[in-house]
Assembly symmetry: C2
Homo-oligomer: 344 residues x 2
């Protein structure tokens, strides 16, 4: 094989004929040797994306061996873990094994890290056939190696928190970081978080408070979750509303002190665009973190409502996002309690 020139995006490891980025590639080059700006990780565990694992479980009717065999086969064929049905991957945990001389990631051999870029673009080799995985959940013990590019991101796992909690926080750390940035741009705003009782939602509420929000409204789908979020003490008002019903959502937010200057959408159900737009004040901002967001529903919805709102695609990367999220967890018992109850 010839050795292509390295590119910080990892383009040099794409084996497809067309020029595509690693995430869009059919197949990646998984050779052990590093390009100068790369890092190799000794893998300990894969965390499959929940939607991907559920799809595999459904497809194989819960046959654990078949699930395991399919994950091994996907990674062998594509050089990365990307569920062909859901398109999603997950993240991994491991120990830094080698750091290329030009790597900008600031990692040291021996660091225990989690990747903050998706497995869908991470070259990966499984060496143990996933023999230690029972196929019962998305936590996959794994021996093998993975490669990070110049523009990848990884975070060192802190010592003072259970690893599972840290990982669970890092998985959603883009949301509080971007929420913090957006809320900081307003003067003591009202902030509504749709799905405020979830992982990214509770962290986003805490981030909004730290960024100077005057009034925090948490929206949850049912009374049980409302009780949990009230107990966590993260919001000034907790309201129950179906986020897919635009008028119900608008009216609920208004009753709780809205419209919001900043509305953060953290629920993974389709059809929340209209309600989020209607719940937001003129010159306000809606941040969409849900992968179920429809671009055209948001764009045409705002136009159709003559709504002068800024709408952001929730970028999962903001510098310092993992550190901020871990800090929020350490400082807010309510956030920690919600996370621990979800890890159950």
């Amino acid at each position: 094989m010839t050795r292509r020139n390295g590119d910080p995006t990892g383009l040099h490891r794409v084996l497809d004929d067309a020029v595509v980025l690693p995430q869009a590639a059919e197949r990646l080059d998984t050779r052990r040797e590093l390009w100068p700006d790369e890092v190799r990780i000794r893998v300990e565990r894969l965390n499959l994306d929940a939607a991907s694992f559920r799809q595999l479980e459904r497809k194989h009717g819960g046959d654990r061996d078949a699930i395991r065999a399919e994950v091994v086969a996907i990674v062998a064929a594509r050089g990365k873990m990307q569920n062909p049905e859901t398109g999603s991957g997950g993240m991994l945990v491991g120990v830094v094994e080698e750091v290329g001389p030009d790597s900008p990631l600031g990692l040291t051999v021996g660091d225990r890290v989690t990747t903050l870029v998706s497995l869908t673009l991470t070259p990966l080799v499984i060496e143990d056939g996933l023999d230690d995985w029972d196929g019962r959940d998305e936590q996959v013990p794994c021996r093998g190696y993975a490669v990070l590019f110049g523009r990848s991101i990884a975070a060192v796992i802190p010592d003072d928190l259970p690893a599972e909690v840290s990982l669970s926080v890092m998985d959603v750390c883009g949301a509080p970081a971007l929420t913090h940035r957006v809320v900081s741009g307003y003067d003591r705003p009202t902030v509504a978080v749709i799905g405020g009782g979830g992982k990214s939602g509770s962290l986003s509420l805490a981030a909004a408070r730290r960024a100077g929000a005057r009034r925090l409204i948490g929206i949850v789908p049912h009374e049980e979750e409302a009780a949990r979020l009230r107990a966590a003490g993260l919001a000034d008002e907790v309201v129950v509303a179906d986020a897919r019903d635009p008028i119900a959502l608008r009216d609920a937010v208004e009753k709780a002190g809205g419209p919001a200057d900043v509305t953060v959408v953290c629920v993974d159900v389709p059809g929340c665009e209209g309600g989020a737009i209607l719940s937001t004040a003129d010159r306000g901002t809606v941040v969409f973190f849900s992968m179920a967001t429809s671009f055209s529903a948001a764009a045409l919805g705002a136009e159709g409502l003559a709504a002068d709102v800024t709408m952001l695609v929730g970028n999962g990367y903001v510098p310092g996002h993992a550190d901020l999220a871990l800090q929020l967890l350490r400082e807010h018992d309510g956030v920690r309690a919600l996370f621990e109850s979800r890890l159950g």
Copy 2:
């Protein structure tokens, strides 16, 4: 029929069982009588969305009578023009016939206007069976009436420009207005407009200049369009690149003086997210106006590239958007020439 309480979104005219906004509704109430904040328009012409018209043409193999019959049938069944296949509508031109006492739109009986909200949410009755339409293009002469809601938008057609040019400008006027706002937030930025030779692209270049851009880069798909855009004098650099090839686009923008502080995506082809992100500087902004944008490709793409860029869903509504776009056309001969050449 009972008379429901009015809502500025037009919810009171939704006839569906579920609570949905007019755009998502299966059927709207088209009664002539106005709610207090509504306006009725005497329709002169419909401008069908181009994608919708092409779909109808393909479906009926160019049979003009069948195309006409289908549009009449859709409007009769749904109370609005929304192509069930493409989901899109278009806009209309007409004269204000009656203004409800509480209408906030500032219109006067006799004003000749175009609607700036989609036909997909506009109650519409066709009275002439579209007898005067030859079915050959998306300009549809029509007698009938339409209703605007409290939160709708309409613009008075100016006297000093050919009506066709005005309409064509108003159709895309959200793009230059939002571009102007975003560019104004940076200090003498570099701005790249992907699809700079098109209608929304050329207006966005002119808007970026007015908002204080230091350097304007126009990206076009082939040499012929490059020559036209160079002749229009709207960009400092015009480069030819395939916007679907992320590396080619990044390198082309870099060569032209990038990366860009603001990248505006105005081309309606899928797969431009990665290239737009890579062409944009750290802390820069990408504005997606293309309806072919994939929300998840943008979100996961930026995360996968560790790109600290703000990504905006191009909202078609910004206050004053129609006036700004018409001004830009009047002030820039280059914009006007491009529009006139496209109206051919």
